[in-house]
């Protein structure tokens, strides 16, 4: 494959190479996100991939760095030259190829150079970790969306997201609701974007196969486990700061921070937000239905 198109949260990505040494093999999680063509009047994120050696980064300085992985491997860092950014990452595959992904936060088109260390006939997936999630994140932010650690569910024609850190019950509550007939969009990572006048919850490609799913967003709930179910509505900066803490962000670019804050503030103005203290059993279903009824009264 020398070219393919992805549709992730209604953002189109055109991935291509004219390098004879490179071909693409997208991961299994992307199969349902493949698109045949880019719709008219839609500007795709262009991702151009080439093989090469380590590019000169004389004008660039490291502006953001990540710690080593638990097994001591380098993951990624961001370099900048005052105008453009370069994401310098390492694929976590057997060859541990170095990747240099150049982008500008005004358009987030990507010019990717893979340092293949002289190997020939490279089969690669530009959306492999760690590059893929970062490409999705910045491309989402520039397109006035957010990427959030949350589970998303459609229940009784209402869309809920449940935000929480690991162990607070994102997957548990999604599973309980699914057993009562609700549709789970995803139980870990979501993109939220405004389409016309409504915010939409989208799933993203994961390491496993799943269909592309979406549903309108009506409730944004921050989870806490508790002996009983309780809902505390939240507005203004409290809601914004809560939602922000569950959003993926790296905060090295003023433009991307501004975009993210604008989007989060708008979501918190248009969607019911609050803390959901919940006990993980089927009573939470009735409790959520009552929150929904009270809102629509």
């Amino acid at each position: 494959l020398k070219k393919y198109i992805l549709n992730i949260a209604d953002i189109y990505y055109s991935v291509e190479t004219d390098d004879h040494n490179i071909s693409f093999q997208p991961g299994i999680g992307f199969s349902d996100f493949m698109a045949d063509q880019i719709p008219e009047n839609t500007q795709p994120i262009k991702i151009k991939v080439n093989a090469g050696s380590s590019p000169g980064l004389k004008d660039y300085t490291t502006i953001f760095d990540t710690p080593l992985s638990p097994d001591g491997k380098k993951l990624w860092r961001i370099l900048g030259n005052g105008e453009n950014f370069c994401l310098h990452a390492f694929y976590q595959n057997i060859n541990h190829d170095e990747v240099f992904a150049f982008f500008h936060p005004d358009d987030v088109n990507w010019d990717i150079v893979i340092n293949t260390k002289g190997r020939q006939n490279i089969t690669t997936d530009p959306f492999e970790y760690p590059l893929g999630p970062i490409i999705m994140l910045y491309s989402t932010l520039i397109n006035n969306g957010i990427m959030v650690h949350a589970s998303g569910v459609r229940m009784s024609d209402s869309g809920f997201i449940f935000c929480g850190f690991s162990g607070t019950g994102k997957s548990t509550i999604a599973e309980i609701l699914e057993q009562s007939g609700a549709a789970v969009i995803n139980d870990d990572r979501l993109i939220i974007r405004k389409r016309e006048d409504q915010y939409i919850i989208h799933n993203t490609p994961m390491f496993y196969h799943d269909k592309r799913k979406q549903t309108p967003l009506h409730f944004c709930l921050f989870l806490k486990q508790s002996p009983e179910n309780y809902f505390t509505p939240m507005t203004g900066v409290h809601a914004i700061s809560h939602l922000s803490s569950f959003c993926m962000q790296h905060n090295f670019s003023k433009k991307l921070i501004q975009n993210q804050l604008e989007t989060i503030a708008d979501i918190c103005t248009n969607v019911s937000c609050g803390i959901l203290e919940f006990y993980p059993d089927f009573n939470v279903i009735t409790f959520l239905e009552n929150i929904h009824k009270n809102k629509t009264k």
């Binding site: 760095d65 900066v237 804050l261």
Partner: protein, 91 residues
Amino acid sequence: MNQIFRKKNECVLKKAGNEFLLVPIADHIASMNSLYTLNEVGAFIWEKIDGSKTLAEIVQEVIAEYDVDEKTASKDILHFTEKIKDLIEEI
């Protein structure tokens, strides 16, 4: 109150209703999720911290802008600079 502070990092200030959010532009992973909530007076003081005004001068500007006495304004500004100490440095 003769201390002069300057901002360490550039920040993004966002108004939401009557309050503000302050997000520093991070330079390392540990600070990537920092976010401060400020009231209107806090945002006013933040804008006045410019590396040239003393805290005493900023207190006078706060008194001129808001209905507050000097003692309360001085106490508040010291509390505020303590709250945002990771974002500013004394010169």
